[in-house]
Amino acid sequence: MVTLNHYLLVSGLLFALGFAGVLFRRNLIIIFMSLEMMLNAANLSLVAFSRFNGTNGLPDYNGQMLVFFIITVAAAEVAVGLAIIVALYRARQTTHVEDINTLKF
């Protein structure tokens, strides 16, 4: 039987994968994609909770509302973030994250 904990475990593992991607990959675009994976992990948790906490034979739709908004905001964020990366690429001719290190002491 699939319990809530299973879903939460899967969500957590997805989040860990995303986090590992942020930490270990060098390409800015890949890092950004890993970020999106982390967001989606959170969405999965929310939907799982929404389903498992349902009352009166219906899921609790508040969780799904939040997911809706998260997806929207994530989309906007991706747009803006990619615009920034493009601008950065135009300025530095690189998307390698180690080359972007002038903001240090």
Partner: protein, 594 residues
Amino acid sequence: MSIVPLVLIVLFAPLASAALIALFTKRSGTVSAGISVAAVLISLAASIGVFLAPGSTTPAIQLPWLDFGAEFSIPIGFTVDQLSQTMMLVVTSVGTLIHLYSLAYMADDDGKGRYFGALSLFMFSMLGIVFADNFVMMFIFWELVGVSSYLLIGHWYHRSAPPAAANKAFMANRIGDFGFMLGILLIWVTTHSITFGGIAENVSALSASSSLATFAALAIFCGTVGKSAQFPLHVWLPDAMEGPTPVSALIHAATMVAAGVYMLARVFFVLEIAPCAMTVISWIGGITALMAALIATQQNDIKRILAYSTLSQLGYMVMAIGLVAKEAAMAHLITHAFFKALLFLGSGAVIYACHHEQNIWKMGGLKKLPITAATFAIGTLALMGIPFFSGFYTKDAILIAAEGSPLYYVGLFAAFLTAFYMTRLYVVVFLGKTRTEEAAHAHEVPLLMSGPLVLLAIPSVIAGYGFFLHRLQPMHEHAASHTPVIASVTAILGVLAGFILYRGRDRDPLYIEPFAKKFWFDELYAKLIAFTQDLLATFSAFLDRWVIGFGTRILASATWGAGFALRLLQFGNLQGYAVLFGAGVILLLYYVIF
């Protein structure tokens, strides 16, 4: 008729004059002079009215001023008893004569307006001291006379010496006033009253502890040491001669310096209960009298000689107070006011006639100025204590009070010296041949100057007589005593010594360095002050650099160090930051959940 309005006129006419001059007429010398002289004449008239009004003993005018409860209330009060009436009359009469004299002496001065304004301010302040009925009021007016004295000594401020002398006078006064204020506060706290009447009632609270009484009395006496130029704060009075001669006459001979003695007489009931303090007071007076007389024998500036003579006589007065002879001290104060003012005005006439020459060895043969020479002689005889002149009676009273104490011999020796140096002065200045061109061309001074001289000569003779003094100040009956004879003989010996040594000389045959150099007091004080200031400066520098500076430097270093350490976190590597984020989140989770 109530004398209250008259008293108020006496006190406030000079203030009105000073205010008018300060605000409106300072630039016009003649107008200011006129206002000032008019004010002092009004004051004199009113004071004669007060004096003659019948049954006038002690109406105190009292208005509440600061009132914070029964114990902490300072009234404005005037007391018009016999002591203050006497003093008032002396101050206004001498003041009037000096105002008239100044009209001629300062006729060509540029700062005439300033001068008369300060002079009016002085009259107001001095009369305030005379009428004050509580310590705080007296202290306020005490400081005001100090201010007037400062303004007047430094009148010719374009020269370098007068401002320095004015500063010196003020500072010496302030040092004395510090002790004075301590004494006032002590008495206030102990007797719970600030008015003289109230303190007199509660004086037993002070006498309860003898050390308390002694300390309070000595602290009060500090004010006199400063104001009346006693040893060791005597150094300002000779330097104050940098001011115009009428100022020296009024302030530094007749009235302000006498304020110290007057104050002691006023609060005599506080001093009476502290016999140790009285001994100290009398000895300080005696030492001052002797020391000043010694120095005077070797001075060559006519005003300096008279200044040291004033110091000496003030020493006599203080000595008298210390010997529980308050009436003798006040009597001597009164006679001294008249003949010393006369002597100073006479010296002013001499200086004026010789075109502002002050060295006695550049004068001579000035007996051709008849009025000046004659009145100066009268003043000298009074000062020396020759019988039938006023000084004789009052100085004798003091010596009689000193009988039985070593101070008797101190007083006698000082009397001998007084006669000696005054004879020296008279012989060198007035007798013999003229020594310089200026002296040869000298002629008698105008009426405005010689008139006051004559008018002052009269009380210099008669002010000592019994009926006169009894009206002003009741005195003890003298027990039969040999002192008058001994004192007269001593004086005559001094005169003879002076004649023998100085008749017909062109230079001083004696040179006794300690006397000529004023016992090196000024040099000593200068070194002392320099030493103290250096010490303070070194200490402050140390504090600043090592205590405060240390703290500041530590703060600065700490901030710098923290910054240096923290900036290592900014390594510029994005993923490094992400690792730190993750670590932080994990720690937080651990803390919250487990």
